[in-house]
Symmetry: C2
Subunit: 313 residues, 2 copies
C-alpha cells in the first residue's frame, strides 16, 4: 500500500468536533478557538536521518530544515507562526554538541520569524536521529488560504525557481511567510500549497479537492540554475524541465488567483518583492487531469513526470 493510500484510510473516519474547521488533508489544521479576528493553525512535521538528511550533515542546517518545513506549511495557509515544540528522538550514540548545534539552527530561524520554542521532548530512537516539530500559528479569520478553492480559469503562480533542491536549497530554503501573508491580504488568492513533493505532485493535491485539472506552459516553468547545471553535466541526470516538475523540497509557493487579477498581481509582486521571481505557469481547467503545453503540443503529465513519454534532451 502506498503512503497516500494509507493516510486516506487512516484519516477517513477520524473523530472531530466543530472547533476543527480544516482537518487532515491540508498544509495545516485550522482551528476556531473563539477569537473574533483570527484562527489557530496547528502543524507537525518530522525529518529523519538517512531520509531527509544524511548522517553527519551540518547540524545547524538540519535544525533549519526541521523548523523551516513547518514554517513553510504555515506560509502556505497565509499564516504567521508563533510557537513550536521540538521532539528529539536520539540514536543510542549521539554527540551532545551536535544536538546543541541542531538546536542552534532551529534557534536562528525561530528568532528570525519570532517563533517561541516552548519546550518539547527527548526520547530514544536507537538507529537514527529523528526531529519532529509541532508548530502553532495564526491566520486572520477569512484569510486562510486552503489547498481547495481553485476555480476554472484561475491562473497558476509559483514563486522562485524549481528543481535541484538536493544540491543545497533543501537545507537553506527561506520559508515564504512574508510573501504568502502579503498575497493573502492583498489579493483574492483562491488556493495555495507549498512545494514539498515536487510541482507535479503538489499541483495534484491542489486540484484534487475540487476535482479540477490544469494546463501548464512548459516554457514558463522556472528552472533553477542547479537543475540546468546538473542536467548539462551528467547524461544520467533528469532533463531540466522534468527535474523542475518532479524534484521535491523546493518549499516555494504554488497558488491560484483569478485570471483578471494576474497582471495586477505580477506588477504588485515585482514592486514588493523585487528579489524573488514570481512566475505565471499555467491555468486551472474544469476538466480533471494535468497537461503540459510546449512546442510539440499538449501532453499529459502525471505525478512522476510525463506520462508514457521519452523526454528528448
Amino acid at each position: 500500500m502506498r503512503e497516500f493510500e494509507l493516510i486516506e484510510r487512516l484519516t477517513r473516519s477520524l473523530y472531530t468536533h466543530p472547533m476543527v474547521l480544516v482537518g487532515a488533508g491540508d498544509d495545516c489544521a485550522v482551528l476556531d478557538v473563539g477569537l473574533p479576528e483570527r484562527l489557530l493553525l496547528f502543524k507537525t512535521d518530522a525529518v529523519v536521518e538517512g531520509i531527509h538528511f544524511t548522517s553527519g550533515a551540518p547540524a545547524e542546517k538540519i535544525g533549519h530544515k526541521a523548523l523551516g518545513r513547518c514554517l513553510s506549511d504555515i506560509a502556505a495557509m497565509g499564516g504567521t507562526p508563533t510557537t513550536a515544540l521540538v521532539t528529539l528522538a536520539l540514536p543510542t550514540a549521539f554527540d551532545p554538541a551536535y544536538i546543541q548545534r541542531i538546536y542552534a539552527g532551529i534557534d536562528v530561524l525561530a528568532r528570525r520569524f519570532d517563533v517561541a520554542v516552548a519546550g518539547g521532548e527527548t526520547t530514544t530512537n536507537p538507529e537514527r536521529l529523528l526531529i519532529s516539530i509541532s508548530l502553532l500559528g495564526w491566520v486572520s479569520r477569512g484569510k486562510a488560504v486552503l489547498r481547495s478553492g481553485a476555480k476554472p480559469g484561475d491562473v497558476l503562480f509559483v514563486t522562485g525557481e524549481l528543481g535541484g533542491s538536493i544540491h543545497g536549497k533543501h537545507f537553506e530554503f527561506e520559508p515564504r511567510l512574508t510573501e504568502a501573508r502579503w498575497l493573502a491580504e492583498e489579493f483574492p488568492v483562491h488556493s495555495m500549497i507549498d512545494l514539498s513533493d515536487g510541482l507535479a505532485g503538489d499541483l495534484r493535491h491542489l486540484l484534487k479537492a475540487d476535482g479540477l485539472g490544469a494546463e501548464l506552459l512548459g516554457s514558463a516553468i522556472p528552472i533553477s540554475r542547479e537543475t540546468r547545471r546538473a542536467s548539462k553535466l551528467s547524461t544520467s541526470a533528469k532533463p531540466a524541465l522534468l527535474a523542475a516538475l518532479t524534484d521535491g523540497e523546493d518549499f516555494e509557493l504554488l497558488f491560484t488567483a483569478p485570471g483578471a487579477e494576474a497582471v495586477k498581481l505580477l506588477d504588485a509582486w515585482k514592486t514588493r518583492f523585487p528579489q524573488l521571481a514570481l512566475h505565471c505557469i499555467g491555468k486551472i481547467t474544469a476538466t480533471p487531469g494535468v497537461s503540459i503545453r510546449d512546442r510539440q503540443g499538449v501532453r499529459p503529465l502525471n505525478v512522476h513526470g510525463y506520462e508514457h513519454f521519452a523526454e528528448p534532451r
Copy 2:
C-alpha cells in the same frame, strides 16, 4: 551526558515571547492566546517500538498509550484536551492493518475525551515504529496547576496505586483528566505532576522548581497488587515499596495542597471518586532532599530508590 542534562543545556536559552507563560520544564507549555477566560496548553510526546512498547504488541493498546500519555500531561495541568495531531514514523516493512488498529486505539480514547484528531503526518523510520502525538488543550485562566508552587507544610497526595505498570497498566491506564480538573477547580492545589518516571523521580521534578524537599511516609505509599505479587513470586524482583517508588509509567497524579485542606480534600474525593483511591503520602519540607520514614526511622531517598541502603525483603 544524561538526558536531563542535555535537555537542560538545550532549553537554557530558547527564544521565547510573552505569549508563552510556561515553557520547557513543565508537563505542558501554557500559552496566553488572548482569550479572557482560558489559556492554551500545548504538549508533544512520542512512543517508540522497543522502548515504550515491544514489537508486535497489541496495536490498539499502542494507540491508547500514545494518546494517553499526552492526555495525562494535560491532566497534570488541570486542563481539558481538545485537538491532536498524529505523527507516524513507519518502519520499512509495516502492515497497514496493524497501523489502522493503532489508529483505532487512538480513536477510542479520543472519542472518550472529546479530542478531535485534526490530521498529522506519515514519514519513514526504517528500523522501528515511532508515534508522536501533539496535543492542544484548555485550562481556565488562573487554574493551571504547575510543577512549581509547592509550599513547605503542603501535604503530598497521590491517586491510585503505584508500581508494576509494566505488567499491563502502561497499556491500559486511564488519564486522570476528570479528577485533575475537579481538583484544580475545587481545591487550592499548589503543584501537580503526572507520574511517568516513577514517584521518586517525578517528586524531584516537583520539588526542584522551588528548591524544596519532602518527607514520605513509607507505610502510606500505595503499592499496586501487581507489584506485591511480583515481589512475592520472584526473589529477583524489586522489593514492593521500592518498585512503587521507582517503577515508571504509573500515570497517576502527584500533587500538593495545604495541610489545612487535607482532611476536607480526602473526604470530598471519596464522595466524588469512590472508585479511585487517593492517598496522603507525606509532606513538603523547607529543607531540600527527599527522605522516607518507616519503622526503622528516616532514610534519604534518591531517584533510583534508597540511597546506600540494602532493603530487607
